[in-house]
């Protein structure tokens, strides 16, 4: 199945203020192959792809596409050449509908090209969704959709270009296994049609399934390109992190103490949470599993006080508490790490140090509300070190960190806050294997220290590996609890689709 070379990039250099993001990188892709691009957070994968999509301009280097050297001054130029991209970050206009977002810039027209043909557009979108087996009204406004569906819209949009080369920068970060399968089906279909696909992901199991060849980058440099069939995953991981990772896994059967620290009874919110009841023990990692839109995020936000609830009681360490706003929750030692870091997690314009200190300012106050900079700096430095946050300095604006490192900053924020009950909503979304292990270790450490961790994750393997107990949700209800050996993919999936008998 060797086919002709579609793309060659060579000698690519790119630097940002303070960061040499790409150093003499080469990359190559063929038609009809899935070429995985791997590397740690901040390795430069997205940067390289953005250059290819015309978003950034390269400092030096050559790009040869279909045998000709090309110039990519803007995204439009890339589109014209048939290079499509699904960006790592969602890029949707929240006020527009799904269909309007997909066809932005290519709206079907009528009446001499003056008027928009909304009907045609919705039909076209409908067809795309059908191809993706996605059930979605094209007229729904994007702001009313959860992240996963928004991601599906991005995918639909990229597909609608019928590109010859399709870049997918972590398309599955927000998707669950089922949706991922759906995407893979489409990828295989495209591949058969001769489309070249560049696939970036931090989920190693996916790479095994889908990739034909693998290119590894590290610290902005090209390391190697290999055939997927020829290597073991461990080797790849070694290449990525440049050292050997001690494969860690929690010894199964270690549960927390019997002490119930958080107990939620009969929580209701609109149609999104229906009568949720659960208890969490000190020192345990409780998993929340479910399909997209099952209501896990809703539960976490409700307990945290980020959204109003209709009814329900919350007990912390046996005492009934009223949580109406996040600050009530924080006072009671509850922390929430949201699934959408840019919108809900970070002050993007502020630096690493400020973000880490943000939730616990009272710890850093001197006389008259003066911030003790020495203390914040020390704490910041400590976490940059211990979580291996890759940043040029503590004074770097968080905006310029790679996604995974941004995630680490938020984790640091809640650890500094010293919360006893921590909700981690998709904590490993978009972070690399190395960092993932760090996060796993961290979660274990926190649990071992007697903290209570509630982890929401759509990566089933992660849940299975880490959690002592798993609650599964479907359509806003908690449909079952699994513990110990019961925690298997099959069981989770069964409960996750256990719909209310109507």
């Amino acid at each position: 199945m060797l086919s002709e070379q579609l793309l060659r990039m060579e000698g690519i250099n790119k630097s940002f203020p303070g960061v040499n993001a790409l150093k003499d990188v080469r990359f190559e892709a063929r038609a009809g192959e899935v070429h995985a691009l791997l590397g740690e957070n901040g390795a430069g994968k997205s940067t390289l792809m953005k250059i290819l999509a015309g978003v950034y301009s390269k400092d030096t280097g050559r790009i040869i596409y279909k045998g000709k050297e090309i110039n990519l001054p803007n995204p439009r130029a890339a589109q014209h050449l048939g290079i499509g991209i699904i960006h790592q970050e969602l890029n949707l206009a929240q006020h527009l509908t799904a269909a309007q977002n997909i066809f932005i810039g290519r709206e079907p027209r009528s009446l001499l090209g003056l008027m928009l043909d909304e009907k045609q557009m919705n039909e076209d979108a409908k067809k795309l969704f059908a191809m993706l087996r996605l059930d979605l009204d094209p007229r729904t406004r994007v702001m009313d959709l959860v992240v996963a569906k928004q991601q599906m819209i991005e995918i639909a949009k990229a597909l609608s270009f019928n590109s010859g080369l399709l870049i997918m920068d972590e398309p599955t970060a927000a998707l669950n296994d089922k949706e991922t399968e759906e995407l893979f089906r489409i990828i295989r279909h495209l591949k058969d049609g001769g489309v070249g696909i560049i696939y970036i992901s931090h989920r190693m199991d996916e790479i095994k399934k889908i990739a034909d060849r693998i290119t590894v980058m590290r610290d902005g440099a090209w390391i190697d390109t290999v055939n997927a069939a020829d290597v073991e995953m461990d080797q790849i991981i070694n290449m990525m992190v440049g050292r050997k990772l001690d494969e860690m896994s929690r010894a199964p059967g270690v549960t927390g103490s019997d002490e119930v620290v958080l107990s939620v009874r009969n929580l209701n919110r609109g149609g999104f949470i229906k009568d949720a009841c659960f208890e969490v023990h000190r020192g345990e990692i409780l998993g929340f599993a479910g399909l997209m839109g099952a209501g896990r995020t809703e539960v976490a936000r409700a307990v945290f006080g980020a959204d109003r609830v209709d009814s329900g009681e919350i007990f912390i360490c046996g005492k009934k508490v009223r949580i109406r706003q996040p600050r009530d929750a924080v006072k009671h030692g509850v922390g929430y790490l949201s699934e959408d870091r840019k919108r809900f997690g970070l002050a993007l314009g502020m630096d690493v140090e400020a973000n880490i200190a943000l939730a616990s300012m009272e710890k850093f106050l001197g006389f008259g509300g003066v911030v003790n900079r020495k203390a914040t700096r020390k704490t910041g430095a400590q976490f940059v070190e211990s979580l291996a946050i890759k940043t040029p300095s503590l004074a770097q604006k968080v905006r310029f960190l790679s996604g995974g490192n941004q995630q680490k900053v938020i984790i640091a924020k809640w650890i500094v806050r010293n919360s006893n009950i921590l909700f981690f909503d998709e904590p490993t979304r978009g972070i690399d294997v190395g960092a993932k292990f760090e996060v796993y270790k961290l979660l274990n450490r926190l649990a071992a220290e007697g903290k209570t961790v509630i982890m929401i994750s759509s990566e089933m393997l992660e849940v299975i590996r880490l959690c002592t107990r798993v609650l599964v949700m479907c359509e806003g209800r908690i449909t079952g609890e699994l513990s110990g050996d019961e925690i298997t993919q099959e069981n989770i999936l069964r409960l996750a689709t256990l719909r209310e008998a109507n």
Partner: protein, 336 residues
Amino acid sequence: MSTIAEKPVAAASAQKFGSSATQKLLAFGSLVVMLIIFSLATPNFFRVDNMISIMLSTAVAGVLGIGVTFVIITGGIDLSIGTLMTFCAVITGVFITNWHFPVLIGVLAGLLTGSLIGCCSGVLVSKLKLPPFIVTLGMMLIVKGLSLVISGTKPIYFVDTESFNLIAMGTMLDLSAIIPDFAIPNAVLIFFGVAAIAGFILNKTVLGRYTFAMGSNEEAVRLSGVNVDAWKIGIYTLSGAIVGVAGILIASRLNSAQPALGQGYELDAIAAAVIGGVSLSGGEGTILGTVIGAFIMSVLINGLRILNVPQEWQTVVTGLIVIFAVYTDNLRRRKG
């Protein structure tokens, strides 16, 4: 999974539709409530001639509001519209009265001037990435100065051209035979015409689509391969042209171009748009809303005047109503 999602989607879209219809009704409702209150308070208020004069006094601010609505929906703001309106009026005056061009040419010159200045602002905002607030603040000062320079700091009267005054003050819809005093001045008709065309552009054309899209997420639009800069310049140009219409209207109504007039009008226009539900953070708004917003403002002022409320209290009440109107609009939206 696909079937699971079905119900909420349908429900949400039904609710959506319902709420959006209600929203418009309610916005209109608060206008109606105001009309009723004033009508009960004084017999002089709800009369054909007063209603027509309210419409006439809404025309200029309304057209300005429509112009700025486009810019606000992109997430920008335009502080120059007040003085730009004057500048267009002055240019028209210079063409018609000083240089003796035909009225039509003068009108076109005014519109062109508006477009041109709008275009300049657009270029500065999109190409140089300057904040619209500051660009249009600067532009406000520049055109204010230029109006004075060009007119020689004196009003320009349209003395030789009788027909110019008819643009605003003539009437093509004279039903006074049927209903006494019911002769709607052209200014009002032009205002409604501009509203209709602007509504069409905003809802049915690509320009309108990009207006909303840019206000919602400009980067996403750029990454979709749209030439964001060009379209944004287009939107500012269109907005400038609409401001040009307001310039012609005010010049024609006053039968003169008053070079010192204009500053302060931008705030009225922006207030009208925001009261009508245009979101200052971009991405949301309707022309109908702006028109209703403009009417709320002018009905309020007219009513208070007719009630003989002392002028300083009129100011206070207007301030309160501006806040209150936006508050109820927000309430509505949060429910919907």
